[in-house]
Structure formats: structure tokens, C-alpha cells
């Protein structure tokens, strides 16, 4: 029983949503599902948020390594929670938007979360460089093509791209690096992307069918 009911639910709901595409009166099912999902996700958040607090309180109690930073996390979490749920400092009353300019929630977001997020994102600039250094090496034919494509595109984005091949006559202007770079983006790149996307589409269909038909059940109760 414990096995069968979830599998049945998956089967019925999955089939229903597939069929809904062809039955106009069921057209709203997708929207309905998305709203239900959002509501379920909030409930699940009690588990997640509770877990976060539990982990850090445990760390604190047992004086594990770096327990001091757990205090900071718990504090940050609580401050944001209080600021947001009680709408502290919001202009107007409780009905105003939680992130209205001037509120504590808004200020913390702007001076703490935003710079942290943007800086973490900007680390990519460094990692792009270190990855290029290591990965773009002519180890074999595949890697060489990876290297050449990246190299031409990168060159095409600097003034040297124009300078190096500016002498090539206009009749074969495709060979000039800036043009070549755009050609690569438009032809071989497009072809590769399409093959990958069609493959993904089939992968999704097969995966979904396995889940709906209950062939794949490792996520809820294993093989047996």
C-alpha cells in the first residue's frame, strides 16, 4: 500500500496533465498546478528553515568548528524574518509591499544581500580565466576544436581580430576573424545547439514516461 498509492498518484496526475493539452476545458490545469506547487513549497519551507536553524543551533551547542559563525547566520536569519514579517520601517501600514523602499527589509537587501550576491556572481570573471587556461589545450581532436572555436570567438572580441585579418580581400571576407566568429556562432554552433536540444527533448519525454508509468521509482521507495 505504502508503495502503490504514491505510484498511482503520480500516474493519474501525470496523465491528466498530458491529456489537458488536448482538452480545452482542462487548459487551466497547468496554472492550477503551479499555484498548488507554490503553496506546497511554502509548507516545505517550514522543514527547510527549521533544518537550517537546527543545524546551526547544534553546531553552537556542541561547539563544533566555526560555531561562532553559526551565531551570525542565526542572527541574520532572525533579523530578516522579523523585519520582513512585521514590515518594520515600512512606509504606510502593514498593507504596503514588504520590499517597499525605506523599509528595513529593503535596506538590508540593498546593502547586504545585493552586494554579496553581485560579488559572488562576479567571481565568474576569475573562474572563466582559470578554466580557459586549464581546459583549452590541444590534448586531442575534440579538445582542439573546443580550443580553436573559443580562441577565434575571443580574438573576434578584441581589436586584434580585425587587425590580424584585415588584409583578407572582401571577396573572401568570411575568413576575417570578426566575420568568422559570427559565422561560427550562426552555423556550427547553431547546429550543435539544435542536436543537444532535440536530444534533451527526447530525454525529458523518456524520463517523464518512466516516472509516470512507475518504472523509475528510486526516488520514492526504491526498486523493490
Amino acid at each position: 500500500m505504502r508503495q502503490q498509492i504514491p505510484l498511482l498518484i503520480t500516474f493519474i496526475v501525470g496523465t491528466l496533465l498530458i491529456v489537458s493539452v488536448f482538452i480545452p476545458p482542462f487548459g487551466d490545469l497547468e496554472t492550477t498546478f503551479n499555484i498548488w506547487f507554490d503553496i506546497i513549497a511554502v509548507f516545505a519551507f517550514f522543514l527547510g528553515g527549521g533544518n537550517l536553524l537546527r543545524v546551526h543551533i547544534n553546531k553552537l551547542r556542541k561547539r563544533k568548528r566555526d560555531w561562532g559563525f553559526s551565531i551570525v547566520t542565526i542572527l541574520g536569519f532572525s533579523v530578516m524574518l522579523i523585519a520582513g514579517l512585521f514590515k518594520i520601517g515600512n512606509p504606510g501600514d502593514i498593507a504596503s509591499a514588504v520590499d517597499a523602499p525605506g523599509s528595513l527589509f529593503y535596506d538590508i537587501f540593498n546593502s547586504v544581500q545585493y552586494p554579496l550576491s553581485a560579488t559572488m556572481y562576479s567571481l565568474l570573471a576569475f573562474f572563466v580565466a582559470s578554466a580557459s587556461y586549464r581546459a583549452f589545450r590541444a590534448k586531442n581532436r575534440e579538445a582542439t576544436l573546443l580550443l580553436i572555436a573559443a580562441f577565434i570567438i575571443l580574438l573576434g572580441r578584441t581589436p586584434f581580430g580585425v587587425m590580424l585579418t584585415g588584409w583578407i580581400p572582401d571577396s573572401t571576407s568570411l575568413l576575417q576573424i570578426p566575420n568568422l566568429a559570427i559565422w561560427i556562432m550562426n552555423s556550427p554552433n547553431l547546429a550543435g545547439q539544435r542536436a543537444i536540444m532535440i536530444g534533451i527533448g527526447l530525454g525529458v519525454i523518456s524520463m517523464s514516461l518512466r516516472l509516470i508509468l512507475g518504472i523509475e521509482r528510486s526516488y520514492l521507495g526504491g526498486d523493490k
Binding site: R2, V79, L124, F126, P188, I200
Partner: protein, 211 residues
């Protein structure tokens, strides 16, 4: 206050950047703040947007929302060990719905649309200038068709990559590699602008070193 916010932002920005050298207390502090604040941010956002905005403000008009809430409540039964297994029901619901939705969406957007887009004449025709069979255009169209075709051959699972089939698969992986190299190179610029943005903040807004 403004001044404090600026210095706080700069302090946190440098804290994250310090990770590039190595893990250190400054980074750990920034990380701890980040995790705490952002988790709180999302609880609050989900609370107001989803619980209040979608459920509380909506159930009078749409009583079916209670089904969603009930499923959410079943989720919480995990906390009761004896009947914790019931929490699989909402999971099963989500898995079923996600599978159904994605199956149809990907069939339409990834397969049908992409196949359709690949069906182009090898000799391109222009809107105004009529027939054009320049070599450049023909080669480009051929490359797209051959690349898509051989790329799909590469993904074949049930046939060994040997002989002519293996050759085609090899060509396919060549195309895929060019794709990856090109996309990588093309993204560098946008990644650099992110760093330029942060540098502008540090050197300009904070230190005032930009004239």
C-alpha cells in the same frame, strides 16, 4: 546611515573576493551573513507572495486552493515518524505533475520547433532579392543540417559507435565541441562586465578614485 551602508557593502564585497586567495575568517563571516540573511529573505518573500498572496487572498474565490494547502500539510507529517510515509503523497503529486508538464512542453519546444527550424532550403532565398545561391550561404546551410544530423547520431544509445555510424557520431561530437568552445568564448564578455560592475563600486562609489 548612508555612509555605514556603503562601508558595509564594501566590507562584504571584499570578504567574498578574499575567497579567491583562500578560505579565511573574513569570507566565513560574509558567507554566514549571506546564508542567514538570504534564507530569511526567501522565507519572508514566500510567506507574503505565496502563502498570503496566492492562498490566503485567494481561497474565497477558489476553494480548490485548499487541496494545495492540504498537500502542503501532508508534507509536514514527516515530522511525525509513525505516519511520515504519508509525506510521499505530495511528493508523488509533484513528480507526476512535473513529468506530465515537461513531457508536453519539451516535445513542443525542444523537438518540434527545433526540427522545424532546421528544415530550411540549402539555397537561401531573400525577401527582396529573390534567388541566391552563393557558395557561402550553401555551405552554411549544409553545415547546419549536417551538424544537427550527426549531433543526433552521437546521442544514439542503442547502436555501437562503429564504422560509418561511428564516423558520423565522431563528426557530431566535433560539432558539439565547437558549440561549447564558441559559447564559452562568447560568454566571457558578459562575465567580465559583472566584475567591472563590482570594480566600479569599489574604486568609484566607495573609494572615489574614478575621476
Amino acid at each position: 546611515m548612508e555612509h555605514f551602508a556603503l562601508w558595509l557593502s564594501a566590507f562584504l564585497t571584499l570578504g567574498i573576493l578574499s575567497f579567491l586567495y583562500k578560505d579565511n575568517p573574513w569570507y566565513k563571516l560574509s558567507e554566514a551573513i549571506f546564508v542567514g540573511i538570504s534564507a530569511g529573505f526567501w522565507v519572508v518573500t514566500l510567506f507574503w507572495d505565496n502563502l498570503v498572496g496566492k492562498f490566503w487572498d485567494g481561497w474565497q474565490d477558489e476553494p480548490m486552493l485548499f487541496v494545495g494547502a492540504a498537500l502542503g500539510f501532508l508534507m509536514l507529517l514527516r515530522l511525525v515518524p509513525k505516519i511520515g510515509w504519508i509525506s510521499r503523497w505530495p511528493l508523488a503529486f509533484i513528480v507526476g505533475a512535473t513529468s506530465g508538464l515537461w513531457l508536453m512542453n519539451y516535445l513542443a519546444s525542444n523537438i518540434m520547433v527545433q526540427v522545424m527550424a532546421t528544415i530550411q532550403p540549402l539555397f537561401s532565398t531573400g525577401y527582396a532579392s529573390g534567388f541566391d545561391a552563393g557558395w557561402g550561404a550553401i555551405i552554411s546551410s549544409l553545415v547546419i543540417v549536417v551538424g544537427t544530423f550527426t549531433g543526433l547520431v552521437y546521442f544514439f544509445f542503442s547502436k555501437e559507435h562503429k564504422g560509418a555510424f561511428g564516423g558520423a557520431a565522431r563528426v557530431g561530437i566535433f560539432f558539439i565541441m565547437i558549440t561549447f568552445g564558441a559559447s564559452f568564448g562568447y560568454t566571457v564578455m558578459s562575465r567580465m562586465s559583472l566584475l567591472i560592475g563590482r570594480m566600479d563600486f569599489l574604486l568609484g562609489d566607495w573609494l572615489g578614485m574614478i575621476g
